[in-house]
C-alpha cells in the first residue's frame, strides 16, 4: 500500500541488492550455478540482470555470456564485495531516490502520484539527473 513504509523494496532485503547495482557480484543459483558479473538491474522480486557474465557450473565448466536475466526465486546466495557497507549503501540509495522524487514533484511536495506510477518515478528522474 502507498504511504506506509513508502517503498515496497524497503520492506524486504531486496533493497540491499538494489543498492549494489553496478558492482561486480557473484550470484549463486539454486541449481549450484554461479554467475560472476556486473549487476545491471534488480527489481522488487529480486529478478536480476547481469552483464558481462562468467557462468560456472558444479563441474567447473565456464562459459561467458554478455547479458543474462535470472529470475529472483532461483537465487540462493549473492556474494557482496568485501569493501561494501550495506547499511551505508542502502541509506545512500534511499537518499538519492527521495531527492529524485522530490525534484520530480517540483520541490513543492504536494499530493504524490498514485502508487503505480510512484515506483516508476525514481527511475526516470534518476535518468534525468
Amino acid at each position: 500500500m502507498g504511504k506506509r513504509g513508502e517503498r515496497q523494496s524497503e520492506r524486504t532485503l531486496v533493497c540491499v541488492i538494489q543498492a549494489l547495482m553496478g558492482l561486480e557480484l557473484l550470484v549463486e543459483l539454486r541449481n549450484d550455478l554461479s554467475i560472476r558479473g556486473f549487476l545491471d538491474d534488480c527489481d522488487n522480486a529480486m529478478n536480476v540482470i547481469i552483464k558481462d557474465a562468467m557462468i560456472e557450473d558444479v563441474e567447473g565448466c565456464q562459459k561467458h555470456m554478455p547479458l543474462i536475466f535470472v529470475r529472483g526465486s532461483n537465487i540462493r546466495f549473492v556474494h557482496i564485495p568485501d569493501n561494501v557497507n550495506i547499511m551505508q549503501a542502502v541509506e545512500e540509495r534511499r537518499l538519492v531516490l527521495d531527492r529524485a522524487a522530490l525534484a520530480y514533484m517540483g520541490g513543492k511536495g504536494l499530493a504524490p502520484m498514485p502508487k503505480v506510477l510512484e515506483t516508476q518515478i525514481p527511475d526516470t528522474a534518476d535518468a534525468a539527473i
Partner: protein
C-alpha cells in the same frame, strides 16, 4: 484625418463595408485601411458571459445560463497557500524523520514481537548464527557468520562466513556394460578396477600408460564389456566468505551461537 474621411466615404458607398448593414463583409473591412467601426471603444465579446447581456429577453434561463464562478475571496486564497506550505513542510519533515531510522533497523523492528523475535535479538547484538540451508532434495549445508540484516522472508546478510556444504556431482566411472554381447562370457574374469579420469572410453584407452599396461586384447575387452557411466555423488566442500546475502527460501533453520 484624410484616411477617416476616405473611409467614411467608402462606407457610405459600399454596403459590404457598412458595419450596420446585413451585407457587411468582415474580411473586406479588415483589408480596407483606416476603416473604423461606428463605436471604436466597444469591448469585444470574448466569452458566453459577455454575450448574455445582448441576447433577447424571451430566451429561457436554462438555455442562457452559464455557471458563473464567483471570484475567490482573499481569505480562501490565503488559506490555500498556508495549507500548501504546511504539506510541503510536512513532507520534508517526514522524509527527514524516515531517514533517521535506518532502513535495515526499521525492518528488523517490525519483526520483534513475532516468532522471528529471536532472530532480531541476534541481529541487534550482531551475534553469530548457524544457518542450515537446503537445496531441492534435502539439506545442503551450514553457514556460520555474524548477522548483518534480517527480514520477514528470512533473507539475511551474513558477515565472516564459514560455509560447509554438499554438492551433487556426476562422476564418471568405468562399469560393466548391461547385457553384454556374444563371446564376452569367456573374458568375464578380467576386470578393470581403476576409476578413469577420462570422460569417454576412447579417451581412457587413448591414454599412453593404459595402452602400455593393457595391450591389444585387453583393449578389445574393455570396449566390449565396459562403459563409462555417470554416477551421482554428494561432494563435501567448505569455503570462507566475507559477506553474503542469503535468500530466505534456502533457509531451513537458524541457530543462535554464543
Amino acid at each position: 484625418m484624410a484616411d477617416a474621411a476616405a473611409a467614411a466615404a467608402a462606407a457610405s458607398s459600399s454596403p459590404s463595408l457598412d458595419f450596420l448593414s446585413p451585407e457587411f463583409d468582415a474580411l473586406e473591412a479588415l483589408r480596407c485601411e483606416g476603416l473604423q467601426p461606428p463605436n471604436p471603444r466597444v469591448r469585444p465579446l470574448d466569452n458566453l458571459n459577455k454575450c448574455l447581456s445582448i441576447l433577447p429577453q424571451e430566451l429561457s434561463e436554462s438555455f442562457v445560463s452559464v455557471p458563473v464562478r464567483e471570484p475567490r475571496s482573499q481569505e480562501s486564497i490565503a488559506a490555500q497557500q498556508r495549507a500548501k506550505a504546511r504539506t510541503s513542510l510536512q513532507m520534508e519533515k517526514a522524509a527527514e524523520r524516515a531517514r533517521q531510522t535506518k532502513v535495515l533497523d526499521a525492518m528488523a523492528e517490525k519483526l520483534k514481537d513475532g516468532p522471528l523475535g529471536l532472530l532480531v535479538e541476534c541481529y541487534e547484538k550482531r551475534g553469530r548464527v548457524l544457518l542450515w540451508t537446503r537445496h531441492a532434495h534435502g539439506i545442503r549445508g551450514t553457514l556460520v557468520g555474524f548477522l548483518l540484516a534480517v527480514d520477514k522472508h528470512f533473507n539475511m546478510v551474513l558477515q565472516d562466513v564459514d560455509e560447509q556444504y554438499t554438492v551433487r556431482r556426476q562422476v564418471p566411472r568405468l562399469v560393466r556394460k548391461q547385457g553384454g554381447h556374444i563371446g564376452s562370457s569367456q573374458q568375464e574374469d578380467k576386470e578393470i578396477q581403476c576409476p578413469p579420469e577420462a570422460n569417454c572410453i576412447d579417451e581412457y584407452l587413448g591414454n599412453q600408460t593404459v595402452q602400455e599396461e593393457c595391450g591389444e586384447s585387453v583393449e578389445c575387452l574393455i570396449r566390449d564389456m565396459m562403459e563409462l557411466k555417470l554416477f551421482p555423488k554428494l561432494e563435501r566442500r567448505r569455503r570462507h566468505l566475507n559477506q553474503v546475502f542469503v535468500r530466505g527460501d534456502s533457509v531451513v533453520m537458524v541457530q543462535k551461537l554464543i
